[in-house]
Subunit: 182 residues, 2 copies
Amino acid sequence: MAAGDLFHKHGIRGVGVEAIAEAAQTNKMTLYRYFPSKDVLITEWVRGIVAHKEEDWKDLNAKHRGDPEGQLQDWSRRTAAQLRAMEERGSALGNAFAELPDPNHPARRVMKEHKLRAHKRVVRLCKAAGFPDPAFSANLFTMMLEGAHSCGTCVGMRQIGEHLVQVVDRMVENNRRHQAAG
Amino acid sequence: MAAGDLFHKHGIRGVGVEAIAEAAQTNKMTLYRYFPSKDVLITEWVRGIVAHKEEDWKDLNAKHRGDPEGQLQDWSRRTAAQLRAMEERGSALGNAFAELPDPNHPARRVMKEHKLRAHKRVVRLCKAAGFPDPAFSANLFTMMLEGAHSCGTCVGMRQIGEHLVQVVDRMVENNRRHQAAG
DNA sequence: CCCCCATGTTACCGGTCGGTAACATTTTAG
DNA sequence: CTAAAATGTTACCGACCGGTAACATGGGGG
């Protein structure tokens, strides 16, 4: 879906189906034969992003099996890398959310459910890592993750990514010390 | 500027100047006699929001003069209150940023400069409060602030606001303990 | 009273949008 | 080779957009 690049660069409302078709190396007619409307096209694009991210989490889980701290740390590093590759325009999902004011838009539901799953995942990891207050830490991580995207537009994506990694590392380290002491 | 409510509810691109004029209890012609284009209307709206926020900071500074911790804590509480009053649709500035893909849009510059000032303010406060690593803490606060807005759409604005307050309180408290011990 | 100036009204402009109809063309499969 | 399915082309539709021109209205101050 090369259409996604256009959506991300010029905003969902800022790109017409004609341009989408061209980016997909086809034309408007055939596009409409595959997707009945622009809205389902948007939804499918969002669904793809979400699926990709969740695939990434599965990979993370497989690579650091039984090591929740490692998962959290690697996750922060991957996010930092994504931030670095983003540069200038913000998060695709965040922007899409802002551009779809209708709370009943199917794409919105997809994003919402994804965010909920992601947050639960972090809570579970914090619990498994033995953080003294897993809800607290998970909320902090999730808010930082979300914030990193908007924040990077002013502080710089590179710095913000490094900082995300730094915070997660520090909290994991503190937790380890705390467990060793207690 | 009642137009702001429309911008926030339906998105900048989702509301036409006709609707704006109607919301302002006038008509399109008179509107264009005051604002030469929709873009400067948008920019002026953004400028108003930014001015309001910076006014709030001045008030904060006056109320807790010489008490940087108090300023940070009160700031988190005010932000939490704003989040509580927001509910459903996200941050006005954040959405506006997402809806204006052109990096040279004047409204974008206004927002960017505001964000930079806000971040510097937090850095200065963290320095004044004697945080061991002011840049670190300030980045954390700023990212949390930004994140709270996007995050609230899934976790719930009330919870996220409470959590923002909780994090700031905890960090201030930790810092106090650290200073008392060191 | 009368003039002026701000406001309101209506109609319009060119452009773009999402989406469709009809038809030409190419690819694929039997 | 031929028939059918997929894809491409063009033109069009109605709706809405930001923005403007021409003109009607009204009210307040000299």
